[in-house]
Amino acid sequence: MSETHHLLIQQIAGGDKQALAALYREFERPVYRFIVSRLNDPHEAADILHEVFMDIWRVASSFEGRSQVRTWIFGIAYRKVIDVHRKRARVYVTDDIPETGDVQDAADAGYAAKQEAEHLKACVGELSDDHRSAISLAFYEDMTCAEIAEIAGVPEGTIKSRLHHAKKLLLHCLSGRIGGRAVA
C-alpha cells in the first residue's frame, strides 16, 4: 500500500489529475475527520481539506519519500488547522486538570459514556488543539506514537504526555457530565 501511495505522489508530481483523484478518494474521509475534530466546523473543515489537496497538487514534486504518504498528508492538514487557530486567536477552554475525583471514578464514568456519545463529543471539543490532535490521530486513525510525533513535529515523549493529559481531561469531563455518578 505504501508503494502505491508513493507511486501516486510521483504521478501527481507529473501532473496526473487522475492520480490526485485516487489519492483524494483514499484519504478524504480520514483527513476530513481529523480536521473537523479539531475545528468543529464542517464548512471550514471542507475548505481546509480542499486546501490540503491543493497543496498536495502543488508540492507533490517536493515529497522526498522519507516518510509515509499518510503521515505527510496528515502533517499538511495538521499545520493548516494550526494556521486557522492562529487566525482565530482561539482561546481554549482548559488545559488544567481539575483536582476533584480520581482516575478510578473517571474510568467508571468512561464506561457509562458508551451510551453517551454526545458527552464524549462535547468533552473532546473542550480539549486544546494539541490534545485533540493527539487523541484524534491515536483513536480515529490508530497511528503509532512515532507517526503522531512526526505529524506534530515533536518528540514521542511529548505525544505520550499530551495523550496522558487528554485522557485525564476527558475522563474527568465525562465523570462530571454523567450526572456526577462517579465523581467523589
Partner: protein
C-alpha cells in the same frame, strides 16, 4: 517488568489502538493483569476509542472532488497561459481595445432599445447547461452547490421546472457538469444545453 507503572500508563492509548510492538504489548498485558486501576483506565480508553471510531463524519466526498478537479484545472490553465505580451504589444493592444470600446459604445447608443442592462433569470437566451432539481432539494442546498461549482442560473424555471445554467467565465464546464451529476440528492437531471 523493566518499566515503571507511569511508563506503562503512557503506553495505554497505543495498547488500545493496537500499535505497540509485540514486546511492549506483552509488558503492558502483564501490568494489566496485576493492576486493577490500570485496567480500568485501559477499559475506559477502549470505550472512548470505540465511540470515536463509530462516529460518522459526513465528508465532502464527490462534491469535494469536483471542486478540487475544477481548481486544479484552473491552476493548470493559469500555468499554461501564454507569456505576458511585451510592453510594445501591450500598448498596441490597449489602443485597439480603446478603439473597439468607443465604436461599440457608439453603436449601442444608436441602437438603444431601452432594455435594462442586465438579464433576469427567466429570460430566454443561450445557456451552458439545463438542469432540474430534486423536489425536496432546499434553496440552501441548491445555492451552495451552484456557488461551489461556479455556475449561475440564467433562466428558468420553465413550465416543467427546468433551469438554464451558465458556467462563470474562466471556470471548468466539464467539472461543473461532473459536480452537478454527482449531486444526486439535489439535481434530478443535468445535460449540456443545445445552443
Amino acid at each position: 517488568m523493566t518499566r515503571t507503572r507511569e511508563d506503562i500508563a503512557l503506553d495505554l492509548p497505543f495498547h488500545v489502538n493496537g500499535t505497540l510492538s509485540e514486546a511492549e504489548r506483552a509488558e503492558v498485558d502483564a501490568w494489566l493483569a496485576e493492576d486493577a486501576l490500570l485496567r480500568a483506565e485501559h477499559d475506559a480508553l477502549s470505550v472512548i476509542r470505540a465511540e470515536m471510531q463509530a462516529e460518522d463524519a459526513r465528508s465532502p466526498g464527490e462534491f469535494g472532488l469536483s471542486r478540487l478537479m475544477r481548481d486544479v484545472g484552473r491552476e493548470g490553465s493559469a500555468l499554461a497561459a501564454p507569456p505576458t505580451p511585451s510592453r510594445t504589444w501591450m500598448w498596441q493592444l490597449a489602443a485597439a481595445v480603446a478603439v473597439i470600446a468607443f465604436l461599440a459604445q457608439s453603436l449601442f447608443v444608436q441602437r438603444d432599445t431601452g432594455e435594462a442592462g442586465f438579464t433576469l433569470a427567466g429570460a430566454t437566451g443561450s445557456a451552458d447547461m439545463i438542469v432540474s432539481f430534486a423536489p425536496d432539494a432546499t434553496e440552501e442546498q441548491i445555492r451552495l452547490l451552484l456557488i461551489g461549482l461556479d455556475v449561475e442560473i440564467v433562466a428558468g424555471p420553465s413550465a416543467i421546472g427546468l433551469y438554464h445554467l451558465d458556467v462563470l467565465e474562466g471556470s471548468d464546464a466539464e467539472a461543473a457538469l461532473a459536480g452537478l451529476s454527482a449531486a444526486t440528492e439535489i439535481v434530478e437531471s443535468v445535460e449540456y444545453a443545445q445552443n
